[in-house]
Amino acid sequence: MITRKELDLWVGIFAVVGIGAILFLSLKVANLASFSSSESYQISAKFENIGGLKVRAPVKSAGVVVGRVGDIRFDNDSFEAVVALNIDSRFKFPKDSSAKILTSGLLGEQYVGITAGGDSVNLKGGDTLKLTQSAVVLENLIGQFLYNKAAEGDGKK
């Protein structure tokens, strides 16, 4: 028969190992430590079309993840999408930076790319990016292509 002391020891080991597994999952698998703990500031950008952008999509500059998409709203006055970007406060961008919606790979997920401008004043929380470029929607592209082809054909006649 197992003694009370041994029992406590085994249950203690079990609890430590189990909580260790939860910590491993949250730190190593989900990478909880990297973004939620660090400070961030929020800027917003208006897009004519956001394509398939989702909340929590990465915000990248020069290919490096600098933040996450915090919120996506529809502005009923300008009929544009308002995207809130949570940028890690370690990264500063000039005031005239521009935002684009890009796709990683041909069929990959969509993300927001920030191209730094040349202004000496940096963006701070609550600012809005003036220069934006919408997502490329494949249907519009094909439509435009067909329209151009048709116009070319008319010109030749």
Partner: protein, 265 residues
Amino acid sequence: MTERVLELMRALGARIVSSWIWRLGFACRFLWLMLLESAPSFRRFHLTIREIYFAGVLSLVIILVSGLFVGMVLGLQGYDTLVRYGSSDALGVLVSLSLVRELGPVVAGLLFASRAGSAITAEIGLMKATEQLSAMEMMAVDPIARVVAPRFWAGVISMPLLAALFSAMGVFGGYLVGVRLIGVDEGSFWSQMQAAVDFRQDILNGIIKSFVFGVAVTWIAVFEGYDAPPTAEGVSGATTRTVVTSSLAILALDFVLTALMFRGL
């Protein structure tokens, strides 16, 4: 003729009422009694510790080994499929998401039901058949506080820990096969995984799932044991019912929880 049909209907109705509705009501009342008696049973917490040893610690080996193998199989199969689309770097995402969201809680729950749930039912059923429970009542010891509640809480505490261990072991198994054996790039294995797995959406929901499964499995196990007919066949039937009912409950609850948690994605 109509009399025969009526009689058949009556028998069917009586069967449904006595074996389903009545038992379900009793099970709910039993859960309530158990929760009421939990406070006195926590005063002697070493009883619960003892049951955690039997339900949790002794299930460790089967959970760890099956987690490792499930992860390794996921690594092989996932690589085989992903390499066709040229995205074998996403192997870490596939392995970790399928383990943390679904396979970890569900398979660990099924293993827990057959490893620990059946043991709980058999133990309580045998205690009842040999009139140990009645003897306790005679000595003014509440068998629900002394026997049932510690087993219930031990299962509820053990299950999330076991599911987390299963998932962690599975991720490790996927890493062994994907990175060490096949040669997927180690950096992209971990970094894509970390980019895709969200703490609240994936890890926390997985833990909530395993907690719910723990409540369901141990509730069914202690109830079947307590309700078992006090004969040898009764105990064996109750043990079988525990495994069947809790497996079905886990799969059905998993569907409901998944529909609630991941609907908006």
